[in-house]
Symmetry: C2
Subunit: 204 residues, 2 copies
């Protein structure tokens, strides 16, 4: 066996599909998915390009693994008992809280999911899943308005987009280095969404 072949074999053994997915996420986040080549992934992993193809068929498979993991975690929230039982308001509160918690537990994968633009089949699938999650929450907002639990003078779609914007932006700025304890942030987010930041006794 040549020295080179030994190194390749070593590369195959020290990396698995999970570690390669993690390395790819960092590159996709820093350079963008389109701008990242399989060659760069191989270089960052310290293995050869052919060693990458030993694990995956192509670059998109690495994106799909990262993103489908994130999508799976988000949709699990909607199946949890507190997301399916109770009043629309308590279900919304629960979903928003869990959304932030899941974001912290899977920061990189979810930040990547939110950067997706729709070029490849995987990206289009991810956009469709994001919209599906969104529609679920929008329906709950309308139900909560109908039940008189949240204000009905505000447009349900606008509320949905604003709250999602706020919550889904979190992994993005955490990823680039802001540090607020997750618990502090979750509490601030829920208080802001439901009660607002104005001191209650201050005249409007």
């Amino acid at each position: 066996m040549t020295q080179n072949a030994k190194l390749r074999r070593k590369g195959r053994n020290t990396h698995n599909i999970e570690s390669l997915t993690q390395i790819s996420i960092d590159l996709f986040m820093n350079r963008g998915y389109d701008a990242t080549s399989v060659e760069e992934i191989a270089k960052a992993a310290g293995i050869t390009k052919s060693a990458i193809y030993y694990h995956v068929a192509n670059k998109e498979e690495l994106l799909r693994r990262a993103i489908s993991n994130a999508v799976g975690k988000l949709f699990e929230i909607l199946e949890e008992p507190a997301a399916t039982e109770g009043t629309p308001l308590t279900r919304l509160e629960y979903i928003f809280r869990r959304l932030v918690e899941v974001e912290f537990d899977h920061l990189k994968e979810i930040a990547l999911l939110l950067r997706v633009r729709g070029g490849s089949q995987t990206e289009r699938w991810a956009l469709e899943k994001r919209r599906e999650f969104d529609r679920h929450v929008q329906e709950l907002i309308v139900l909560a308005q109908d039940a008189g639990e949240i204000r009905d003078d505000l447009d349900a779609l606008a509320i949905d987009r604003l709250v999602f914007g706020m919550l889904t932006w979190i992994p993005e700025w955490y990823y680039i280095g802001h540090r607020i304890p997750p618990g502090v942030l979750v509490d601030a987010a829920l208080a802001l969404i439901f009660e607002g930041i104005r001191q209650p006794d201050v005249a409007r």
Copy 2:
């Protein structure tokens, strides 16, 4: 003059630096800045690569023009009378409202500014300007808390990041096609931030 040379000359005449900047923004948004080549910009503009270099020194100059325009518009807000006079709370309300209005007026440039990651000198400059705008607002939040105008049980930095996340995400999802009338969205955003979405008489 050959047919080709005539076409090139035509290209130079029908495009100016402003129209090339606009074309570049769309490409940067759809494919990412790193992944977009000068060749692709030329192709999208229907002119030759050398005709591009007649107008700009390099790709980064197009990014710089787009982004510095957006940064300039954002910082103008902070100089406006209602952003510098009045209580910290009224100044915050004014800045948040104007931020959304300016986003709608310069949707593409600001969406691009918010996608910037810091690879090139221009991108690092843009990140620094975003942080500067941010610090200004953070200071106002602390002042408003000290004045008893906004709740001081919430972390000022957390409020700042959440509100900015909400407001700066707007161009991103408008860019990909959501349609809510700007006025409806501004009102919903301000109501959400300051009053929250819970119906006031609903028990917590």
